[in-house]
């Protein structure tokens, strides 16, 4: 996946290099600008069994800052923020690959370097007893839960 580009970033940024579970590396550029989760909306996406995005709704497009064309075919970790501990995603994948539902609070990275917090639920799409992909639905989290995660997550690296 391509590194983030300085020309896409809004505001002062820091640089990090993420190493994903599949060994790929990505340079990400991160600002301190938060986009609040819009009231009454849900962000919905689906991936294939390997985590490649196959479907996004309009809220996903708006909140991520990417176009629909940029998102379809990209790995879901295009949203990975360096403040998220890798252990959270390891737990996510272990859970859904067992065929179970995973729920957690996630800080997502926008194309412009900003971030947004979500309460995420991921479930496996089971068709004919086989996992064919995953559906992820993100909703607005409470500020109290976000504050808890902001204290907890730095301790999990």
């Amino acid at each position: 996946m391509q590194d983030m580009k300085p020309e896409d970033i809004v505001g002062a940024y820091r640089e990090h290099t993420l190493v994903h579970f599949d060994g790929t590396r990505r340079k990400v550029l991160v600002t301190d600008i938060e986009s609040p989760f819009p009231d009454g909306r849900l962000i919905v996406s689906r991936t294939d069994a390997t985590g490649i995005i196959t479907h996004v709704n309009q809220s996903f497009v708006e909140m991520s800052g990417y176009s629909r064309d940029e998102l379809i075919g990209a790995p879901h970790y295009i949203l990975r923020h360096p403040d998220m501990p890798p252990a959270a995603f390891a737990d996510l994948w272990e859970t859904v690959q067992r065929g179970e539902k995973w729920q957690g609070y996630v800080k997502n990275l926008r194309k412009d370097g900003g971030y947004y917090w979500v309460k995420a639920t991921v479930i496996p799409n089971i068709r004919n007893a086989r996992i064919t992909g995953y559906t992820s639905v993100r909703r607005k989290p409470s500020r109290r839960k976000i504050a808890e995660c902001m204290r907890l997550y730095p301790t999990l690296f």
Binding site: G40, R41, L42, V44, N57, K140, P141, R143
Partner: protein, 248 residues
């Protein structure tokens, strides 16, 4: 024995006359007897589904998983442009301007409409409210939800957005919507049971052709539906997956 057709119990009596007209259309279209069986609540309707007494249902999406995965129902159609959405509202005199202003525990007026209630509860989560911090007051209609707010008996209420918009202007002026869902993918659907599996294609063709003939058009008008849209099996599976993500 006629086949049994039923509609989700979340329809007001005003909507029901349209379903009786639809049932007549159905019988003429398939040239078979159908009985429109109405239930007072979701509990008794689910009992009938479990006992295999239902052949055709205009179902609440909350029940789709049971209908498809346990009872072998198949989707037919959904009404065009009619997603179910929810509104969380308070008395206009209350100090709450935003969901996140609501206190740590509240008394909530709601209905048994499962998908609307669920969407409303999701919209209360940003205020750290859940079943453990909410005292529920279950009402039989959305007018009664409004009354609970107007009388000051409840702090907030959950409405089907369409029902909220159809409240009289006098009532609406005394309420304040804190949040309105824009989920767009949760909808009722007409679903056919396994005993009628061999009529599925014929019924589907007739449903989709309704706007093309005067009789079908008048039936759709009675239901306040512009046209039906096909729901294929993968779309129904997606709906079921989506509902699964909401249920804790």
């Amino acid at each position: 024995m006629p086949h049994v057709f039923t509609v989700s119990p979340d329809f007001t009596p005003a909507h029901l006359s349209g379903w009786f007209i639809f049932n007549t259309w159905l019988q003429k279209t398939l040239d078979e007897a159908f009985h429109l069986q109405l239930f007072d609540d979701f509990h008794s309707q689910r009992e009938a589904i479990q006992a295999d007494r239902i052949d055709l249902i205009y179902a609440n999406p909350y029940d789709a998983a049971m209908l498809v995965r346990q009872k072998g129902f198949k989707p037919l159609v959904k009404p065009e442009g009619k997603a179910d959405e929810a509104v969380v509202a308070v008395n206009a005199q209350s100090p709450y301007l935003d969901v996140e202003d609501l206190p740590g525990s509240i008394k909530l007026a709601t209905t048994e409409d499962p998908d609307v209630h669920m969407m409303g509860m999701i919209m209360l989560e940003p205020a750290d409210l859940d079943a453990s911090t909410i005292e529920m007051e279950i009402c039989d209609s959305y007018v009664l939800v409004a009354k609970k707010l107007l009388n000051g008996n409840c702090d907030a209420g959950i409405f089907l957005a369409e029902a909220f918009d159809n409240l009289s202007s006098v009532i609406q002026k005394q309420l304040r919507a804190l949040v309105r869902s824009q989920i767009q993918v949760i909808h009722h659907a007409l679903m056919i049971g396994p005993r009628l599996a061999d009529r599925r294609d014929r019924l589907l063709d007739a449903l989709l052709a309704m706007p093309e003939n005067a009789k079908g058009e008048s039936v759709l008008a009675a239901l306040n539906i512009s046209r039906w849209e096909l729901v294929d099996e993968e779309e129904m599976e997606f709906t079921i997956d989506l509902m699964d993500t909401f249920v804790n």
